[in-house]
Subunit: 209 residues, 2 copies
DNA sequence: GCATGTCGATAGGATAACTATCGACAGTCG
DNA sequence: CGACTGTCGATAGTTATCCTATCGACATGC
């Protein structure tokens, strides 16, 4: 198909498609003439994946490129693409304090988690502990084990969706999409559950307006 | 204290402090002379809260202003500040399809959740379902109930941290901080749990590197 | 009395993600 | 044959966000 059709079917302007190609996010189509290029269905799929990562997942162009490269790297195990995807999601800008990191790792160890010290989640979680401390609120500590337990369930659900065998490219794509979009899914469901529980706590018998 | 001390203790440049004041995020200090203004500890606390919301929570200046205004609004129930905070976090840019919304609401109802149709989480979660469908992956559906269950536990932990009584301003601040920073905390713990579970699945006996 | 700190105001800069425009020309329709 | 539409790569411009730098005037402390 030509660029105009690709644009229409993907909902991405042809200017943006050219931009993505320039930036190395989308492989170039096959030139079929002086000013004509042919795109395939795989371009369409890649474009949709790209938009999902950028719009729904909140990845920047640069980070999306890293993730896509990991999916395309045939020598990279699917397990490692998950790590790449984790690292691509907005991480902590400033590293957390050693104390909070130690506290988080201690809690994780108490739950039997084996976590690599370089896991980006550690700084993310420990950074939040730091913020709480800075704000003079220590009340989070008591609830942490409950968070660990709940997130373990989430991760279990994540893995149940991710096939670690079969077609490598498809599995890698699923792993990446699940990791990146999962944050948003969980955030959305959390909002809903928060509202349910807090309104129920206030008014155990009432109805939704 | 003067602006230079406030700057030093908060780690925010005096130029930025002035910027926040200009933008209505930080109340002005008390003028004590032609070119001198006095700031209090409450300014320091507010500044730290602001940085936590912006840096750790990823809120924009404009959204942070809305949230802070809700905290300061003495006539607003604490329960409602939670809704304001939910709405302030990066929401869905494009609304989800009615089909996905219906599916999400159906699942929520099946779990006994009472969720207001305007809850921003619905579009967030339903939007992810849309993306999955767009990418030709329907495999998420089977795992959704597990996500609901896990997020309900998270929300329960959220509420256990949030005092709905006592000093209103402090409770509202706690509710807001918990809602906004909670997403990041959960995301971090999820990364850790993912790594633990996936590495355990691959190598049930091995050690961390 | 002079270096230093501070004031509000405004202009400027950095980054990210596009978007608009350009001249040239190929394919298409009648 | 010729008007018209679609497309090409390249580059400059735009929008939005979040600050940062500088300015002249003036107060304060040593």
């Amino acid at each position: 198909m030509r660029i105009s059709e690709l644009s229409e079917r993907s909902g991405v302007s042809s200017a943006s498609i050219k931009y993505y190609t320039r930036e190395g996010l989308l492989p170039a189509g096959e030139r079929t003439g002086y000013n004509q290029t042919d795109y395939t269905d795989s371009h369409l799929g890649r474009l949709r994946l790209l938009r999902a990562l950028i719009e729904a997942g909140g990845l920047t162009i640069a980070r999306a490129r890293t993730v896509l490269a990991a999916i395309d790297d045939e020598s990279m195990p699917v397990y490692d693409t998950l790590g790449v995807a984790q690292g691509a999601i907005e991480g902590a800008d400033t590293p957390a304090s050693p104390e909070s990191r130690a506290r988080v790792l201690e809690l994780a160890a108490a739950r039997g988690w084996r976590v690599h010290p370089g896991n980006p989640g550690i700084d993310l979680a420990a950074g939040i502990l730091d913020r709480y401390a800075e704000l003079g609120r220590e009340d989070l500590a008591a609830a942490l084990p409950a968070y660990l337990e709940a997130t373990e369930r989430i991760a279990a659900a994540d893995l149940s969706v991710t096939p670690m065998s079969g077609d490598r490219a498809a599995a890698a794509e699923t792993a990446v999409v699940g990791t990146v979009l999962g944050d948003t899914l969980v955030a959305g469901l959390r909002r809903m559950a928060q509202q349910h529980l807090s309104s129920t706590a206030l008014d155990p018998t009432g109805d939704v307006c």
